[in-house]
Amino acid sequence: MTDITRETEAALAAIAAAPNLAALEALRLETLGKKGWVSLALKTLGTMRPEERQQAAPAIQSARAAIAEAIEVRKAALEAAELEARLARETIDLTLPAPVQPRGSVHPVSQVMDELAEIFADLGFAVASGPEIEDDWHNFTALNMDETHPARAMHDTFYFPDRTPEGREVLLRTHTSPVQIRAMQEHGAPLRIIAPGRVYRSDSDATHTPMFHQIEGLVIDKDIHLGHLKWTLETFLKAFFEREDIVLRLRPSYFPFTEPSVEIDVGYAMEGGRRIVGGSGDEPGHAWMEVLGSGMVNRRVIAAAGLDPDEWQGFAFGTGVDRLAQLKYGMNDLRAFFDGDPRWLAHYGFSPFDQPTLSAGVGARA
């Protein structure tokens, strides 16, 4: 065995055993560095005669190649080990809690109003609005409730001490019906609107709050009759509750602003202490509950709004938005609607991404 072979083997063994990158670098300098023995051996080749060189060169060249490769291999291994060790040191406890993004919510009243707007948009109804502080002409007189009308007294109206320039009483609207008048005055006929919003009655008990939400619907056109009213409300309730088995019962009633007037009951069953809408109220285990007031718009109302009642007729309906929300989503305490308790809002509120659409179904399932 030549010296070179011996020294090469020793170097390769040292490289393979190099404990770290610094030791490896020292070995590199010792062998392949400018003054390393491999480099020096290579330099000797220049002083040799050609025959000698031919004989000695392959051994030196291959020693250099072997050592260089061994250093690379060892370096990669040492670097990998070092990275592994560093990563091991960087281990964290991922069972620790991550920062929590607060989850916001949309109020059930807003959500249901959006649902209603979506359903009625498909039937061609636009959304109209009006002031909540009204005058008694819009809230009562134009709706066929003159000053002495007994129905006025039944409205538990909140009044302000003010009078309008025309001398009208100023009050908080008791229903969304004044929007009918304003919409007819503003847009004329034909007309299809819904008008959701806040309304006020001086009434407070377990099922009444002095402020609540109503939605009004109005269709003014030619040849509109009670059959259209029935279909519209059936269609609306089916879409709202997303059930085909909705059964309505129409009962004659009285509202000064409609003639004929019809109260709408819907069949329901009690399941687990909750009213579940669907089926006929006459079926066993079922009953009827009142959900909407409606009727054919009184001629006087059409005339008060400036339209010709001989030319135009139509229907109107109204219902409680809070109540629809309760029936659909199961909350039972009306007062909690207006309390602002984040626990209730998180429980009954809706994700901002539950924007009602017809294609996805307007309702947001639990």
């Binding site: 620790l96 916001g104 061609g124 004659p252």
Partner: protein, 799 residues
């Protein structure tokens, strides 16, 4: 309105069952609110014969009875009643029956070791009275084994809601008429007990207020004997929820509840001189039957004699001339009062009575004579006495309304085809007179009929609303068109953006306690306060959304909530210049409590700060479509958000000096104190009405043209006066070269070692954007010089 089935059947000849009658009532618009059927309650109780009675072996007060129930072997029953004895007949509750008074379910049991197979019942236990001294004793002829309900003649009571347009149905007879029209039976004619009037009425009767009291009929009856009413009358009144008082009073109530006709009976001995319907004098007083004194005014009609007022016309009689047990001579009053006058008087006096309800809705003007005769006949029959001739002052309305009716309207408005003959039958059965050419004269009692639409309602409700078929509303072809207004779209975006930012949407009252509203009222803006608030807490219309949210946050904190992140989209209410309502759409936010709870990463719990409020304000204004890039942060006062906010940690966001789009920041400690809330609390209010409308645009966006060359960023650190607003420096730098400088961003603010007293260090990153070609070193130098020069104009020096 409540009445018993027996009462209804006094006027309606019918075989219909209770259920059929209730269905029909609902169908014709007399909504059944409840049915009380005592027969249901008495199920399982039957007539039993006590065969033997022996002492209980282990209890002195108990007896062991052997009872025949009419079938099978006699039953052994243990009974504690002192009157239980062999040979008597009584009522036995069998196992399974529910005791009406207590709700207890009877079962077979052992009482002190002796088996008992039921319970002999007292009147109180069956809910039939107060007697609990012993068990019910039935006459000897009571048939053993019969259901007690059937024997007792338990009479179901129906409660209906009568709508205000139907005063004619505020008497049982009117309801019977409607049911007969529906085909449920035959309406019986009214039977008036015969009497012979003798001599003229000895009392002068007059109406001096023809407007308020167009007609005043009366009659005197002498020698009556007042006292308790007969059982049939008491039973009828009780079914209607009326307490029997005395025969004379009960008979007027019977006329009112049975026929919708209020009347009054005066004790003649207590009247002096002529009895006159007249206007009250201002300040005149009357002690009414409810033992309260009412002060009257000249707008009210009264019945008075020479000395005093005896009756608030149509509402309540006077105590001084009311009948008593010893009354022997009476004056009957049947009058017709102007409904509007009665309504106004009742409202003013705050007095609700059954008479008022009927008069203000309109009684039957054609039922004065008949009503008077009916009342007279009943009094004479039951209380004896000698009636005088009737006297009549004035006359009630007597001209019927005639409506030209087109039977085709029923289909056009009501949506249902009803044969003309059937329409005619329905109207006639309700008392309308229909001529051959469809001129329909309305009965005077139907004040609600104004025109053809009302007749359609009559026809349709009797024919059956259930026969109206659904007809699809015509709709335009194709996909439904968008209907939401710009404002609605804005609110929807805002609402969902706010919720997506982690806020919970609340809905709070539009009215506030006065102090809370006053605290947030804009300077010089008087509160809008309700004249008749329901409570002190709901009195003044809110001038801001913040107080309501703050009150909610306070409630939440009191309940132990760590944080309230609440928002509301709603209106603020102001008076406009002309006194009308000015309602401004607004978004309010209150951030209270912990923004981040204490945590292993973040340490102590952190509250919200004014920058949280600012971030939300800007983000939501952007969602609302406001030009956020042009907004200026302005404050403190007088350009600040108001004294409700911390003067040094709040600001407004404005488009120019006048247009305030938002206010935000920390609330003032005085605000927190006023609301008893623990701070710090941050708040935001967006004034949505101030956001300028956006020009409607098409769908296509402008082309995408990113700059061709990469931007150059340079950092600058300045020493500036402590009071200099960073925003001013940013604006100055951005304006130093509007073409080249595309962004300026503060990345450090420092005060402390190395920074002189009264100064602070602001470090900013300025972005220079080259256009066609890259900047040369010289150009960059020139730009930097401009930046430094612009800063120097604000007193800033480069560090």
């Amino acid at each position: 309105m409540k009445f018993s089935l027996a009462w209804l059947k006094d006027y309606l000849e019918t075989d219909a069952s209770l259920a059929e009658i209730c269905d029909a009532l609902n169908a014709i618009g007399l909504e059944v609110e409840g049915v009380e059927d005592p027969a249901e309650k008495l199920a399982g109780f039957r007539i039993a014969h006590v065969l033997t009675a022996a002492r209980h072996p282990d209890a002195d007060k108990l007896q062991v009875l052997s009872v025949d129930t009419g079938e099978g072997e006699p039953l052994q029953v243990v009974c504690g009643a002192p009157n239980a004895r062999a040979g008597m007949k009584g009522v036995l509750g069998l196992p399974g029956a529910v005791v009406p008074a207590s709700g207890m379910v009877l079962k077979k049991s052992a009482i002190r070791g002796v088996e008992s197979n039921g319970m002999m019942c007292s009147a109180r236990e069956l809910g039939l009275g107060d007697d609990h001294a012993g068990i019910i004793e039935l006459p000897d002829d009571a048939p053993v084994g019969m259901e007690f309900a059937a024997y007792h003649g338990a009479d179901p009571v129906i409660e209906v809601a009568v709508t205000p347009n139907r005063p004619d149905c505020m008497g049982v007879y009117g309801i019977a008429r409607d049911l007969a029209a529906k085909g449920l039976g035959r309406l019986k004619p009214i039977t008036i007990p015969a009497f012979t009037p003798t001599g003229p009425c000895p009392v002068e009767i007059r109406t001096d207020d023809a407007e308020g009291c167009p007609a005043f009929y009366g009659r005197v009856i002498t020698g009556v004997r007042n006292g308790p009413s007969p059982d049939w009358l008491q039973a009828r009144l009780k079914s209607a929820g009326q307490r029997p008082i005395s025969l004379l009073v009960d008979l007027t109530n019977y006329l009112m509840l049975g026929f919708g006709r209020p009347a009054h009976v005066y004790d003649l001995a207590k009247l002096k001189g002529a009895v006159v319907a007249r206007r009250a004098r201002d300040g005149e007083q009357v002690l009414a039957l409810n033992e309260k004194t009412y002060t009257l005014d000249a707008g009210m009609t009264v019945i008075a004699d020479d000395h005093q007022v005896h009756d608030i016309a149509g509402i309540m009689g006077g105590e001084d001339s009311g009948v008593a047990d010893e009354t022997s001579d009476v004056l009957l009053e049947i009058a017709y009062f102007d409904p509007a006058r009665i309504a106004a008087t009742g409202r003013k006096l705050g007095l609700s009575t059954d008479a008022r309800t009927r008069f203000e809705r309109g009684v039957d003007p054609a039922f004065l004579d008949e009503g008077l005769d009916l009342l007279t006949g009943l009094i004479v029959e039951l209380a004896g006495g000698q009636p005088s001739e009737a006297v009549r002052a004035g006359a009630p309305p007597s001209v019927p309304k005639v409506v030209a009716f087109d039977p085709g309207l029923t289909a056009r408005l009501g949506g249902v085809e009803v044969a003309e003959a059937e329409q005619r039958r329905i109207l006639e059965s309700l008392g309308f007179a229909v001529s051959a050419d469809w001129q329909v004269s309305c009965p005077l009692r139907r004040h609600d009929i104004e025109g053809p639409a009302d007749l359609v309602e009559e026809v349709v409700r009797i024919h059956g609303l259930d026969k109206v078929a659904s007809v699809a509303l015509p709709r335009p072809e194709g996909v439904a068109r968008p209907t939401a207004s710009e404002e609605q779209r804005r609110d929807r975006r805002l609402r969902r953006a706010a919720a997506a930012s982690g806020l919970n949407e609340a809905v709070t009252w539009s009215f506030l306690p006065e102090w809370a509203a006053a605290h947030f009222a804009p300077e010089g803006e008087p509160l809008w306060v309700l004249a008749n608030p329901i409570s002190e807490d709901m009195k003044a219309m809110r001038p801001s959304l913040l107080p309501g949210l703050l009150l909610a946050a306070k409630r939440n904190a009191d309940r132990g909530a760590a944080a309230s992140r609440l928002f509301e989209i709603g209106r603020r209410y102001f008076r406009s210049g002309n006194g009308l309502s000015d309602e401004r759409p607004t978004l309010g936010i209150v951030l209270a409590g912990e923004k981040t709870p204490r945590g292993w990463q973040t340490g102590k719990a952190q509250g919200f700060d004014a920058y949280d409020a600012k971030a939300l304000a800007l983000q939501l204004l952007e969602a609302a479509g406001a030009p956020v890039a042009n907004l200026m942060v302005m404050g403190p006062d007088p350009l600040g958000p108001g004294p409700q906010f911390h003067p040094g940690q709040s600001a407004t966001l404005r488009l120019g000096p006048k247009t305030v789009l938002a206010r935000f920041g920390m609330l003032h400690p005085a605000t927190l104190k006023a609301f008893d809330a623990e701070g710090p609390i941050a708040a935001v209010e967006l004034f949505l009405d101030a956001i300028p409308a956006r020009k409607s645009a098409g769908f296509a966006r402008p082309g995408f043209a990113p700059p061709a060359l990469q931007a150059v960023r340079r950092d600058f650190a300045f020493l500036v006066p402590e009071a200099l607003a960073a925003g001013d420096l940013v604006r100055a730098l951005a304006g130093a070269d509007k073409a080249a400088i595309t962004a300026v961003r503060v990345f450090d603010v420092f005060q402390g070692p190395g920074v002189p007293e009264g100064r602070k260090s602001l470090a900013l990153e300025v972005t220079f954007q080259p256009g066609e070609k890259s900047f040369t070193e010289a150009e960059l130098k020139a730009l930097s010089d401009k930046v430094v020069a612009a800063a120097a104009r604000l007193g800033a020096e480069l560090r």
